[in-house]
């Protein structure tokens, strides 16, 4: 037993390990629960310490042993990401799966242009992701193994009137993940881009979106993401029907799209 009281990894009980960044609520929280149930030891990383502590306590009580450990961290503290990664790998003894889920959407009015809001979204949705994924990619590249999962969004597929900066942050994140995939596939690393549709989380509520449909709860989203992880998908829309809808939306010509109100 390690000083952290983590279960030993043996041939007959090999422990798979994961980091979920953005784990205190919503999809991240549901994913921590799901991964722990699937046998992973999960590092739950997020800003809000109390929420993490509560989540991990619940998960560990259900599993009957330590399966989730809380790590308080602000993704905009870019310099500390590589250090925390090293610390977790040292404590867990390996890393099989890395999930970047942190994301915020600050509502902006259709005629509002606010750099402070845009910067905040960029910092959490994109720059925090780069701060984590660069060292994760360097590590997986050295190990010639591993899986990176980025929780992007259908919102990154087009730029819309309602959320210019949010759209851009997700579009950039998706493009970064694609580039990472092209770099790392040849090194034995899988990079999975997840594009959820509407999920009933704080983001959806804060975004004040009115015209929502196909809304799923975070557990359903986590189930879809787990499926994509298990089958080592490249890109997965969650739930799947968004793939078809976004195919259509991606092909709406600009002269029409300019006139749409969503």
């Amino acid at each position: 037993m390690s000083p952290l009281n983590l279960p030993a990894s043996t041939p007959l009980r090999p422990l798979r390990t994961a980091i979920v960044v953005g784990a205190s609520s919503g999809i991240g929280e549901a994913l921590v629960r799901r991964l722990a149930r699937e046998g992973y030891l999960v590092a739950a990383v997020a800003r809000r310490r109390e929420l993490l502590d509560e989540l991990c306590a619940q998960v560990n009580a259900v599993c009957g042993e330590t399966r989730a450990r809380p790590y308080a961290h602000d993704v905009t503290d870019y310099a500390s990401a590589p250090l925390l990664l090293k610390q977790i790998v040292q404590e867990f003894g390996a890393l099989d799966l890395f999930v970047y889920n942190s994301g915020i959407q600050i509502p902006v009015a259709v005629d509002e242009f606010d750099f402070a809001k845009d910067l905040a979204m960029y910092e959490t949705n994109l720059l925090g992701a780069l701060a984590w994924l660069n060292p994760v990619a360097a590590m997986f590249q050295a190990l010639q193994a591993g899986q990176i999962v980025g929780i992007s969004s259908v919102a990154g597929d087009r730029g819309r009137v309602g959320a210019p900066a949010y759209n851009t942050s997700k579009a950039a994140f998706s493009a970064y993940l694609e580039a990472l995939r092209n770099r790392l596939t040849r090194r034995g690393v899988t990079v999975t881009t997840i594009k959820p549709g509407f999920v009933d989380t704080a983001i959806l509520r804060s975004a004040g979106a009115k015209k929502t449909f196909w809304v799923i709860d975070p557990d359903q989203a986590a189930a879809g993401i787990w499926q994509a992880i298990k089958t080592r998908r490249q890109t997965a829309y969650v739930p799947g029907q968004w793939a078809l809808l976004m195919l259509i939306i991606r092909h709406i010509p600009s002269f029409i799209f300019r006139r749409l109100s969503f």
Binding site: A8, T10, F92, Q141
Partner: protein
């Protein structure tokens, strides 16, 4: 900017022998004691643990250190001194048994104790205190160590022999690399008069006959080993084949100079004169499902019914598996594990009858069983008993892991209840309470006290150490 002392380029997945477990570690390959000290310094400054690794031939997590530093000693592989008159050899810890025997045999000597593979390093052999098919006669390798020098995590270098620093001598040998690093090792070789052994092979039909035959053969031979068909149940439970071998006496080999040459010892590169040996494991893979392997075992048993007396080279007798390179890959993606139990002669038969029957009942038969005769030794974490050992290989598959684990826990109960012991280079699932039971509290306390002395900051820790001793 300060350079990162632990760059990801050093991070590597290391595996156990059997490919059933892998753990990431920052890997270092020092070539001198000075460089080992440097690695210790890096580990101390960054608050990392260090594990020593030789050839990585332990079946469990002995040479793994998830998330920490691993010092691979295979580049410290120089023979420092060899005296063909006295048979005394001094070598660095990364020298493996292949290098060792190939150096000494042409001069008429042979290592007194060798493992079933010649790719193990001397450092690993001492750390685990390996035994051979002659354990009942020659004891473990530690009994043939005249002296060693070790670097302790404290930075001190100590020289130990049975009479000088005896407490460290008898604990660092068998100490799983947890007390310090062997820097140089001085061993006594055994005089030979031939490169050949006289081997007797004959079948045994039951477990009782099996153990009785080993017990009877051992005193009359230099080596005794049994193959046990662990897939045979009912009346054939414990059936198998015994191989006993004797050194040739002076004059019995008309051409000792020839048979003691390295070239004479080596087996042909091709099987049936056609298939390169490196491809054999591919042909074995399809047989690695229980019903087919049962046929293989039966065929092997039937073939063994013809008793034989023949001469065989030392290398062929000891290292047969090395001549099927990567044979362990035949076990498929999940790899394999080995469960070896050491039982007193009085309780062995009943306990193993129980183990064998249980594995057949559970549908989790061992594909390969190997039996040996042992005697106790004075080393602190000894696995030996006055009795026998049975090593059972199990194939690991995603679907069988949990069932196998539960069964091995039952095995542990049966073995410890029968006064048995385990070997830290083999079993991968031993729980702390089981180790405590067979080692006894005083031994654990003594080991921990010695560790506090040689490694006060617990710099040396392996996954094995944390799993078994972490909570003791």
């Amino acid at each position: 900017m300060k350079t990162d002392p632990l760059p990801y380029e050093r991070l590597t997945y290391l595996e156990n022998f059997g490919h059933s477990l892998r753990r990431a570690a920052y890997l270092y390959r020092p070539t001198s004691a000075g460089q080992i000290s440097e690695v210790f310094k890096i580990a101390r400054h960054n608050d990392f643990k260090v594990t020593l690794r030789g050839a990585g031939r332990s079946y469990n997590d002995a040479a793994l250190n998830g998330g920490g530093l691993v010092i691979d000693l295979q580049d410290m592989n120089h023979i420092l001194d060899w005296n063909p008159e006295t048979g005394i050899i001094k070598a660095e810890p990364g020298v493996n048994l292949q290098t060792l025997w190939q150096r000494v045999l042409p001069d008429g000597w042979w290592p007194p104790v060798v493992s079933g593979t010649m790719f193990t390093t001397l450092g690993g052999c001492l750390g685990m205190n390996i035994h051979g098919k002659n354990n009942f006669r020659m004891g473990p390798i530690g009994e043939h160590v005249l002296e060693f020098t070790a670097l302790l995590p404290t930075g001190a270098e100590v020289t130990c022999s049975p009479t000088h620093n005896g407490d460290l001598f008898y604990s660092m040998i068998s100490g799983m690399g947890m007390l310090g690093v062997f820097i140089s090792i001085t061993l006594q070789m055994k005089k030979m008069h031939s490169g050949l052994l006289e081997v007797t092979a004959f079948p045994v039909r039951t477990l009782h006959e099996h153990l009785a035959a080993i017990e009877e053969q051992a005193p009359q031979n230099d080596y005794t080993v049994g193959w046990l068909d662990a897939m045979a149940g009912g009346g054939g439970l414990g059936r198998g084949q015994i191989h006993a071998a004797k050194y040739l006496r002076e004059g019995e080999d008309p051409e000792p100079q020839k048979t003691m040459q390295v070239a004479y010892q080596t087996l042909p590169e091709k099987m049936f004169g056609f298939f390169p040996k490196s491809s054999i494991h591919y042909f074995m893979t399809p047989f690695q499902i229980a019903p087919l392997w049962g046929l293989v075992n039966t065929a092997k048993y039937v073939a063994s019914l013809r008793s034989g007396l023949y001469r065989q080279s030392h290398a062929a007798f000891h290292f047969l598996l090395d001549y099927v390179p990567n044979w362990e890959l035949a076990y498929g993606r999940g790899g394999l594990i080995q469960y070896q139990s050491f039982l007193p002669r009085e309780t062995a038969e009943a306990a193993w009858a129980e183990l064998l029957a249980l594995s057949l009942r559970r549908g989790l038969p061992s594909y390969l069983g190997v039996t040996k005769r042992h005697r106790p030794d004075k080393f602190l974490l000894s696995h030996a008993v006055d009795g026998f050992s049975l090593a059972m290989d199990f194939r690991v598959t995603a679907g069988s892991r949990e069932k196998l684990r539960a069964m091995l826990q039952e095995f542990d109960q049966i073995v410890t209840a029968a006064g048995g012991r385990f070997y830290f280079a083999k079993n991968s699932e031993t729980m702390p309470e089981v180790a405590l039971k067979f080692l006894g509290q005083p031994v654990v306390e003594r080991f921990k006290a010695l560790k506090r002395r040689t490694d006060p900051n617990n710099l040396l820790e392996s996954d094995l150490y944390r799993r078994v001793f972490g909570s003791l």
